[in-house]
C-alpha cells in the first residue's frame, strides 16, 4: 500500500496545506488504486486530476455515488435506463466540495436509484464487501462504503433515504453520517424519495466525516426549495469523554430481529459509553416499529412519481422495437428498470391510486407525524438515541434477494430517523461473526440527535471512536 493511502483524509489535507504533500501525487495514488479496483465499487474513474483548487479539503480526491449529476461524466444512478447519460450540469454539493478543494476521483456503484440494502440491484453488477468478498457491502451507497473501507478512495459521498449511508458504513466498518433533512442541497441528486433523500459523507474516521461535511453545509441552496441554512459552522470534533451526556436506548430498536452477535457488540459499546461518563437509560419510541411500514409506503410513492421522467423521450435508454407510444413507454421502462425498482414503482403507484390513497399514503403520513413526535419527546430527556445501525453484519450475496421484505428489514433501525428528518451517524463499534459464520465482520453503532445536532453527534462519536479503537486498516492493504 502506498504510504499516501495510510494518511486519513484530514491528515492528507493538512499535509497539503503545510506544503508537505503534492495534491496531484495524492490524486494519482488513489486514482491508480481505484482503477485497479477488484470490488466493482466504481462505475467511472477519472483519467487524470483536474486543475488543483486550493481549499480546506486540501485537494484530497473524492468518490461520489453514481446518482450525483456530474457534468460530462456518466451519471446513471446504477440504472440501465440512464445508459450513456452524461448530465449537462453538476450537483450543488459536488460543486461545493470541488470548490473547497475535493476533486472528483470516481463515481461509485450503488443499488439502482438507491433502492436496496446490498448493492445487488445495480445495472453494473454487485459490489463486494472488502471484509469478505463473498458478502455484500450493504447499500444503497455500497460502492462508496466499500471504496472508502478498502482505501480506494479517501472519502466519499453517499445518499441516505432510509439508511443507505449508515447501513453500508456499518457493514464496511467505516463512518457514515446522514444529515438533518434539508442541511445538504439535493439539487443534482437523482431522486429516489424527495422528502427523505439526503447526501452525506462516508469516511474512514469521524474527523474525516466532519471535515467533509463541514464543506457540504452552509448557506441554503437557492436551487433546492427544501434546503436550509445550517446554523453555524461544522467544527472538527475534539471531545475526549461523554461526561454529562444522556443517551437513550429504545427497546423497540434493540430487541427482536437483531443478530445476537450484533447485540453483544452493541452492549459492549454502551458499557464503554458509560465508562466515558455518559448516562445511558432505556427510552421509548412507541411508533418506531411501524416506521418501516410507513417508509415502504411513502418512499415508493414518491419514487413512482420521481421515476416517471424516465420515459425514453429526452435521454437515456429507449426500447428500439416500439412503434406506438404506449409500447415505447412500457417496453422502455420494462427493459430499463431492474426488478426491485419495478417492484417499488408498482408499490408506490398502487399506494397513490384511486381508492387506496387514504389507507396507505394518508395513513403513512400520519404515522410519520407520530414518529417525529416520539423523537421530540425522547429528546426532552436524552441528548442522543443509540441503536445498532443494522440488525446484522454483512450477509452473503443472494441471501435476501428472494424475499423483498427480508431485505427491507435491514433498514429497521435507520428508517425511523429518516422519517423524522433528524441527523444520525454510524460508527464502527466492533466485530461480530455472522450467524453460522466464523470470520468476524464490522458492526455499526448509530447515534441520532435532534435537528441540526450534527456537531454534538460528531463530537460524541469522536470520543467513542477513540475509546473503541476500531481498526479497519487490514482491509485497506
Amino acid at each position: 500500500m502506498s504510504e499516501l493511502v495510510r494518511l486519513s483524509a484530514a491528515q492528507a489535507a493538512a499535509a497539503v496545506g503545510a506544503g508537505e504533500l503534492d495534491p496531484l501525487a495524492l490524486f494519482e495514488a488513489y486514482r491508480a488504486r481505484a482503477a485497479a479496483d477488484q470490488l466493482n465499487a466504481f462505475t467511472w474513474v477519472a483519467e487524470g486530476a483536474p486543475a488543483p483548487v486550493a481549499g480546506p479539503l486540501g485537494g484530497v480526491p473524492l468518490a461520489v455515488k453514481d446518482l450525483f449529476c456530474t457534468e460530462g461524466v456518466p451519471s446513471q444512478s446504477g440504472s440501465r435506463i440512464l445508459e450513456g447519460y452524461r448530465p449537462p450540469y453538476t450537483a450543488t454539493v459536488v460543486e461545493r466540495l470541488a470548490r473547497a478543494g475535493a476533486p472528483l476521483l470516481a463515481k461509485t456503484n450503488q443499488d439502482e436509484f438507491a433502492m436496496g440494502s446490498s448493492t445487488e440491484n445495480s445495472a453494473f453488477g454487485p459490489v463486494r464487501n472488502p471484509w469478505d468478498h463473498g458478502r455484500v457491502p450493504g447499500g444503497s451507497s455500497g460502492g462508496s462504503a466499500a471504496a472508502v473501507a478498502a482505501g480506494l478512495a479517501p472519502w466519499a459521498l453517499g445518499t441516505d433515504t432510509g439508511g443507505s449511508i449508515r447501513q453500508p458504513a456499518a457493514l464496511c466498518g467505516i463512518v457514515g453520517l446522514k444529515p438533518t433533512y434539508g442541511a445538504v442541497s439535493r439539487y443534482g441528486m437523482i431522486a429516489f424519495a424527495s422528502s427523505l433523500d439526503q447526501a452525506g459523507p462516508l469516511a474512514r474516521d469521524v474527523t474525516d466525516a466532519a471535515l467533509l461535511y463541514s464543506q457540504m453545509v452552509g448557506e441554503r441552496d437557492p436551487c433546492d426549495s427544501t434546503s436550509l441554512t445550517f446554523p453555524g459552522p461544522i467544527e472538527l470534533p475534539q471531545r475526549a469523554d461523554l461526561r454529562g451526556l444522556r443517551l437513550g436506548v429504545p427497546a423497540e430498536l434493540t430487541g427482536e430481529g437483531i443478530e445476537p452477535g450484533v447485540l453483544e457488540v452493541f452492549e459492549a459499546a454502551i458499557q464503554l459509553a458509560r465508562s466515558l461518563g455518559a448516562t445511558v437509560e432505556p427510552c421509548a419510541l412507541p411508533h418506531a416499529p411501524h416506521a418501516l411500514a410507513a417508509y415502504y409506503v411513502l418512499a415508493p410513492a414518491e419514487a413512482s412519481s420521481n421515476l416517471a421522467r424516465f420515459d425514453g423521450v429526452r435521454y437515456g435508454y429507449r426500447a428500439s422495437d416500439a412503434d406506438d407510444l404506449l409500447a415505447m413507454y412500457t417496453r422502455t421502462r420494462h427493459d430499463g428498470f431492474g426488478a426491485e425498482v419495478k417492484r417499488r414503482i408498482m408499490l408506490g403507484t398502487y399506494a397513490l391510486s384511486s381508492g387506496y390513497y387514504d389507507a396507505y399514503y394518508g395513513r403513512a403520513q400520519r404515522v410519520r407525524t407520530k414518529i417525529a413526535e416520539d423523537f421530540a419527546a425522547a429528546f426532552e430527556r436524552f441528548d442522543f438515541i443509540v441503536t445498532p445501525t443494522a440488525p446484522g453484519v454483512a450477509f452473503e450475496f443472494g441471501a435476501k434477494t428472494a424475499d423483498p421484505f427480508a431485505m427491507y428489514l435491514n433498514d429497521f433501525c435507520t428508517v425511523p430517523m429518516s422519517l423524522a428528518g433528524i441527523p444520525a451517524i454510524s460508527i464502527p463499534c466492533g466485530l461480530a461473526p455472522p450467524p453460522g459464520g466464523e470470520r468476524p465482520l464490522p458492526v455499526g453503532l448509530q447515534l441520532a440527535g435532534p435537528p441540526f445536532s450534527e456537531n454534538g453527534l460528531l463530537a460524541a462519536s469522536f470520543a467513542l471512536e477513540a475509546a473503541l479503537a476500531f481498526d479497519g486498516s487490514a482491509v485497506r492493504a
Partner: protein
C-alpha cells in the same frame, strides 16, 4: 390482497410492461410486502395531522430573473430520437 388484474391495472398506470409470468410474480411479491405494510392500518391515528415534510420552511421563492438556458446541442445530445431539433416520439394520435 392484490390480484392479477389489479397488478395489470397498476402496471398500466405506471407504464410498465409485464409478461404474464412477471405479473404472477409481482402479485405474490406485492401481496407479501402489502401484508407487512398493512400493519399501519391497526394504529389509532384519529386527529393526527399528516406530515408531508419535516422542514418548517415556507415561501422558498425565486425572483423573476432570467437565467441562461442550455444550448440546444446539449439539450438534444442525449435524446434517443431527434427530428428537426425536436424530440421525436411515436405519435400519440397514431
Amino acid at each position: 390482497m392484490i390480484g392479477r388484474d389489479e397488478v395489470r391495472h397498476v402496471a398500466r398506470l405506471a407504464r410498465l410492461e409485464l409478461s404474464d409470468e412477471e405479473v404472477d410474480r409481482m402479485a405474490v411479491e406485492l401481496a407479501g410486502v402489502l401484508e407487512h405494510i398493512s400493519t399501519i392500518g391497526e394504529l389509532d391515528l384519529d386527529g393526527v395531522a399528516p406530515t408531508s415534510h419535516v422542514v418548517a420552511v415556507e415561501n422558498a421563492l425565486r425572483p423573476d430573473e432570467p437565467r441562461p438556458s442550455l444550448a440546444r446541442e446539449r439539450v438534444l445530445a442525449g435524446a434517443p430520437a431527434v427530428v428537426d431539433d425536436g424530440f421525436a416520439v411515436p405519435s400519440p394520435q397514431a
